[in-house]
């Protein structure tokens, strides 16, 4: 337990009274975020992962499509930093390619799913009645459908550069829980007096939702978007592992891990680099999400 939030705002107002420039909310949040060890570590890790994934291929002599026919299943060396696969492909190059894919897919899917969750949840919670019943039913339906199975069945459609469709389908199965939370919070937010005030001055419902409701749920949404990134990456990896996600000739961490697992016992580099980088990426995203939650909502004492 820390000081009551009320006292902190009193403190803030006292500072404001004294004529000191009050830092904006963004700065306060950033300050809190980078003030925590987890926030700094997560941010540094993720930045490193991004740098590696996107700058790494530029300095590597091999591209992910290259095959070195002089080195099959070679351990890491100066020529092949992470070793090679059975096909002669450079592990570093394919792993970087896989990371790029995973990061892009994860980020986009999280963005789409959070947007879906915000809009659907807010509309259901604000209007209630039939809108709510319909939207809740759709949400329930998607919760009930086995996501993995549906995505797997649809996997042939993702071949041939159709990965944006894959991203969309991933997002379609990620938003439901967040949306339920958003709905619940909207129901209580709706009774908050500033929303009532807007209603009673004649502001239209859609405008209220986009101007008052969703901005006031932004902490939740930001945190959830972050956590959805890791959920999307994990789902993508699992699908690709079984051959249902990113389709050859493209590679993803999932396909690499699947192949590597078979040879891991005698050629550990085929498995551990991909698996390790995946874990580090997801860990970094989760740490950022957690630190963000603390920074946005200091009263919640959620984690750490």
């Amino acid at each position: 337990m820390t000081l009551p939030e009320e006292q902190l705002t009193e403190q803030r107002s006292a500072v404001a009274e004294a004529g000191v420039r009050v830092p904006s909310r963004g700065r306060v949040v950033a300050g809190r975020f980078f003030g925590s060890g987890w926030g700094r570590a997560g941010f540094a890790l993720l930045a490193a992962v991004f740098l590696l994934a996107f700058a790494g291929p530029l300095v590597s002599p091999w591209s992910y499509t290259d095959k070195d026919f002089t080195a099959f299943m070679a351990p890491p060396s100066a020529a092949h930093w992470f070793g090679t696969l059975q096909t002669g492909a450079d592990v570093f190059a394919v792993t970087m390619r896989g990371m790029q894919k995973s990061l892009v897919v994860g980020l986009l899917a999280a963005l789409v799913s959070t947007a879906l969750a915000a809009v659907i949840g807010a509309f259901a919670g604000y209007f209630l009645g039939w809108t709510d019943r319909m939207l809740t039913w759709v949400t329930d339906l998607l919760l009930v459908l086995p996501a993995f199975l549906i995505l797997a069945v649809m996997s042939p459609m993702f071949a041939g550069g159709q990965w944006p469709l894959f991203v969309f389908m991933l997002a379609l199965f990620l938003w439901m829980v967040t949306s339920k939370v958003v709905r619940g919070m909207t129901v209580s937010l709706k009774e908050r007096e500033f929303i009532l005030a807007a209603r009673f001055m004649g502001v239209s419902p859609t405008r209220i939702i986009f101007r008052h409701v969703i901005p006031n749920l932004s902490s939740l949404l930001v945190v959830d978007a972050t956590l959805n990134v890791s959920a999307a990456i994990l789902t993508e990896t699992s699908l690709s592992y079984f051959g249902f996600g990113i389709q050859p000739p493209d590679v993803s961490l999932g396909t690499l891990i699947a192949d590597g697992a078979k040879t891991a016992s005698y050629a550990p580099w085929t498995f551990w680099f991909a698996a390790g980088l995946l874990i580090v990426t997801v860990l970094a995203v989760n740490m950022i999400g957690d630190a963000l939650r603390d920074a946005l909502d200091p009263g919640s004492r959620r984690s750490r």
Binding site: L141, V144, F148, I150, M157, V177, Y241, I257, A258, R301
Partner: protein, 327 residues
């Protein structure tokens, strides 16, 4: 009361029907059972293939809606049709359901109990060594997808078995086929097979539950009623277990419904990787073999299981929370 229950069940049935139908339509249009035959050497004559596909209600030349009608008529009578190999889906899945159920129940039991325990203790010793350790561990576990975790467990077990020079952990299947010996030996064998899949399934669950329970517990630690309990003279630890933990268990029960879907997916991976012949393994195989009817049947079972879990978590909440029970 009865009316409410009936409405709710009706809604459940509707959800299952729509979900299963959607899954069937999707599978029937995306999967191509004909390719199973085209790859054979020598390829069977088209007429034979057509006849066989018609017999199984899998012919892609029959309009989708017509296939759907035939399939749903069967389902209405409790028959999910035939697999691509011509076996009855019902019998096949019934045999496999037991395997999956054993795995899920053990995983769920271990996962939720250990998770709640770890979370509650971490909250009580907030910022202590145990808290930091479990928080760190759960963060790492949450970053490891089940497929990777399962593989790491297998690699570790193989390494360990090599190290001690004996097969301590068994990494494939549910039992050793053709094992001689009495009941204790059988049980021990099963246990050795069970350890790794259970770990693979429940580690993630423990991580999720411990984080959640820790937060819930922290929320009630500062609650007025815990203060009241201490003000009447209860020691801190007694107040925490008797008043705080008991109350913090209620939302955890609700959370159960949300984790169940993830648990089903986790089982799928675990079964496939550890070679347990359960529903999850069949699910992945059925997509590879273009087995439309099996895919639809498994979707139906999954939908049913998720709704059952939702109902169970509601009932659990009613048991734990007098406000719900009486209200």
């Amino acid at each position: 009361m009865a009316g409410f229950l009936a409405r709710r069940l009706l809604n459940y049935v509707a959800l299952i029907v729509v979900a299963t139908s959607l899954a069937y339509m999707l599978a029937a249009s995306a999967l191509n059972p004909r390719s199973n035959y085209e790859q054979r050497t020598p390829p069977p004559p088209p007429a034979v293939v057509d006849a066989r596909l018609d017999e199984l209600n899998l012919n892609d030349e029959t309009p989708l809606f017509q296939r759907y009608l035939r399939w749903s008529w069967g389902v209405l009578r409790g028959d999910f049709g035939r697999t691509v190999a011509g076996d009855e889906v019902n019998a096949d899945l019934a045999r496999r359901a037991g395997v999956s159920l054993r795995l899920i129940l053990v995983g769920l039991f271990v996962g939720s109990i250990a998770g709640v325990l770890v979370g509650a203790l971490a909250a009580v010793w907030q910022y202590g060594v145990f808290d930091r350790l479990t928080t760190g561990a759960s963060f790492i576990v949450l970053a490891v997808p089940t497929v990777v975790l399962a593989n790491i467990l297998i690699i570790g077990a193989v390494w360990f078995n090599d190290l001690v020079g004996a097969q301590i952990f068994l990494v494939s299947g549910e039992t050793t086929p053709g094992l001689e010996g009495g009941l204790p030996a059988q049980l021990f064998d099963r246990l050795r097979h069970l350890v790794l899949p259970t770990l693979s399934l429940s580690l993630g669950l423990i991580a999720v539950y411990s984080r959640y329970q820790r937060n819930l517990m922290l929320d009630v630690l500062g609650a007025d009623f815990v203060r009241t309990a201490r003000a009447k003279g209860l020691r801190r630890r007694t107040a925490l277990t008797r008043h705080a933990l008991r109350t913090a268990l209620i939302p955890a029960a609700t959370y159960f419904a949300f984790t169940f879907g993830a648990l089903l997916t986790g089982t799928t991976f675990t079964e496939k990787i550890f070679g347990w012949h359960g529903l999850g393994e069949r699910l992945i195989d059925s997509i590879f073999t273009n087995d439309v009817n099996t895919v639809a049947a498994i979707s139906c079972l999954a939908a049913f299981a998720v709704l059952l879990a939702a109902l169970a978590s509601d009932l659990m909440q009613a048991v734990l929370d007098p406000r719900v029970r009486m209200g």
